[in-house]
């Protein structure tokens, strides 16, 4: 009787029946992925390549191959002159002492020749910006180098000084601060009467520190702190530093990242030679503070120039700044020798212990 049911019923089949009636094919998730080794190879190939943003190059310059010369010039292969009259191009660049270089510039700028006896003296300093790793470089920096013998740098500098006590305020004013004051000054800043943006540098004596705290949020980066040299006890020295110091900025070369070049004025030709030498030494030592912890030179070459003369007189900067740095070497347990000091031996032993612990963990 069931068989004689009309075919309609047969046609209206439930899902289950469809499933049951349909021939079961073994349909597993077809493994269409490639072999594991092949997949890993493909993954390795996909390593992200950093796309460097190159600026717009006009179409007539695009295909040209640029001749890249290393800006860190090395002339050590050239001979050293033996004669007392010689031609520069065949020999290593002549190295002057700072005194001789300044005297040479004074000769050319003499009233009988160029007649510019008060010309500015510039130091052109070439720096190797290589960082601790070969691919990493020192960041660009902008600093102020303090100097002992002031000269007219032609910049207008405004210094705001905070100090508690009239004598300190007087010292600051005498030193040349544009404005000096105590708690009253703080209040006027808070009120908005006085805008601290008018001043380039803000200096404070440590005795007024807690009174300046309320405006810390306003000042943010410019708030006096001992690291910058803006917070201390010697107000006169601080104010003088910011009024007279040499500002310079070191920027890496676009095409050669490990090369940077800066030109800074450190005096005028009519100043005393010893003062000029001292100023130059201060400038070089300030640059040296940004030195990375690696072998090799940081400051590579220094020239002394004085416009309108186009002469570049090379000097030896390593009289004022160390040429190479020395680091405490890393000692491994295998290299412990009899000659080593006890300190180094104990350090090695510590390292061994650390190694053993690591192995135990593994």
């Amino acid at each position: 009787m069931l068989r004689k049911l009309p075919s309609l019923f047969n046609n209206i089949l439930s899902v289950n029946q469809v499933r049951q009636n349909a021939r079961p094919l073994f349909i597993s998730a077809t493994n269409e992925a490639a072999r594991k080794g092949t997949r890993e190879k493909a993954r390795k190939k996909k390593v992200k390549v950093e796309i460097k943003k190159v600026g717009f190059i006009p179409h007539n310059l695009r295909k040209k191959v640029r001749v890249t010369v290393n800006k860190h010039q090395d002339d050590s292969w050239k001979q050293i002159p033996q004669d007392d009259v010689y031609i520069q191009k065949y020999y290593q660049y002549r190295t002057f002492t700072v005194e001789d270089a300044i005297k040479c510039h004074q000769e050319t700028h003499h009233p009988t020749m160029y007649n510019v006896p008060n010309a500015p003296i510039l130091a052109e300093i070439e720096i190797n910006m290589q960082g601790e790793k070969i691919t990493r470089f020192v960041d660009n920096f902008h600093r102020m180098a303090p100097i002992n013998y002031k000269f007219n740098h032609g910049e207008e500098r405004t210094v705001l000084a905070f100090a508690k006590g009239q004598e300190y305020i007087d010292i600051a004013k005498k030193a040349g601060a544009t404005l000096a004051g105590d708690g009253g000054l703080v209040k006027s800043i808070q009120n908005g009467d006085l805008s601290f943006n008018d001043f380039q540098f803000i200096v404070a004596h440590s005795n007024i520190l807690h009174e300046i705290m309320p405006i810390r949020g306003l000042l943010k980066r410019r708030f006096p702190n001992p690291k910058n040299g803006t917070l201390g006890t010697d107000l006169e020295e601080m104010v003088q530093k910011f009024l007279n110091g040499i500002t310079y900025s070191v920027k890496k070369d676009e095409n050669q990242q490990n090369f940077a070049n800066l030109t800074a004025q450190f005096g005028t030709l009519d100043m005393d030679v010893k003062h000029l030498e001292d100023n130059l030494a201060s400038l070089l030592q300030d640059i040296n503070k940004m030195r990375p912890k690696r072998e090799g030179k940081f400051i590579t070459r220094v020239y002394i120039n004085s416009p309108p003369s186009s002469e570049k007189l090379k000097i030896n900067p390593f009289v004022y700044v160390p040429e190479e740095q020395t680091f405490a070497k890393k000692k491994t347990s295998a290299k412990v020798a009899e000659e080593e000091d006890e300190d180094e031996a104990t350090a090695a032993e510590d390292e061994e212990e650390v190694k053993e612990k690591k192995e135990a963990v593994n």
Binding site: D83, D84, V85, Y86, R94, T108, T112, M113, N115
Partner: protein
């Protein structure tokens, strides 16, 4: 039997064919240093090494000894040679130059300890042959005499030309004179500013190593600090003919040189 005749026949012919005149066989010193691209599979001790496959014969060139630059060699000079060195001096030069110019022409010998001892300068010899102060002095003299130097003096301030003016002007051009004693100005003083003397030439004698003398042509150029007062620019002024500052002196100088 035929086979044996055949074999011996071939042998006799082949020996005749293969003998040749003793040609001078040069040793060919081409060395290419290679390394394997794919490393060999390791095998256990006392076992046969693994079979070499096609990939094992795939090499990468490390160095072509024909292309590497040969190092400079040291030679001892037997005589004074311009631009190289003095007699008895040990000089490091490029190998081709050493062989072709010095060793073959018997002007120098290889720097072995025996040769260094043999050609070393003895006490008395040095004073004899001292026509030249240094191997490069003659070159400096030639270069100084071939050029014209501009001595830049001020257009407004009064001046008298002194040796240091000449030294400073030459230093700007890349000619370094280490002491003022080496400079000999003309006997008559040259004073100014005098626009009549502009571009006029005078001769300065420069002494190199207190021996060689070079006659340097110097021209006076008046320069003003204020750009608007400056004289008009003359393109390649050294190529243009000018009058001498001291006509009589100049004539004697020209005749002598």
């Amino acid at each position: 039997m035929l086979r044996s005749i055949f074999k011996s026949g071939i042998n006799s012919i082949s020996t005749h064919l293969l003998t040749s005149n003793n040609a001078v066989t040069q040793q060919v010193r081409t060395t290419f240093i290679l390394r394997r691209k794919y490393p060999l599979e390791l095998h256990k001790k006392n076992q046969k090494p693994r079979k070499l496959r096609g990939k094992h014969f795939n090499y990468v060139l490390v160095e072509d000894t024909n292309r590497t630059v040969k190092p400079d060699i040291e030679v001892v000079l037997k005589q004074f040679i311009h631009g190289v060195g003095k007699k008895g001096e040990i000089v490091k030069v490029r190998p081709n130059f050493a062989y072709n110019e010095l060793l073959l022409t018997d002007k120098a010998a290889y720097a072995t300890p025996e040769n260094i001892e043999k050609y070393k300068l003895k006490e008395g010899e040095e004073s004899q042959e001292e026509k030249y102060s240094s191997p490069y002095a003659q070159r400096t003299v030639n270069m100084l005499q071939n050029r014209v130097f501009a001595i830049v003096m001020n257009k407004e301030q009064p001046w008298v030309i002194e040796p240091w003016h000449v030294r400073a002007s030459l230093r700007k051009c890349g000619y370094h004179i280490l002491s003022d004693d080496a400079i000999e100005l003309p006997q008559e003083k040259i004073t100014g500013p005098d626009l009549q003397k502009q571009n006029k030439e005078f001769i300065v004698t420069v002494t190199i190593n207190k021996m060689e003398k070079a006659k340097v042509r110097c021209r006076i150029h008046h320069w003003s600090t204020n750009p608007s007062d400056r004289l008009p620019y003359v393109y390649e002024h050294w190529l243009q003919d000018t009058e001498p500052l001291f006509p009589s002196e100049q004539k004697s100088n020209e005749s002598s040189s």
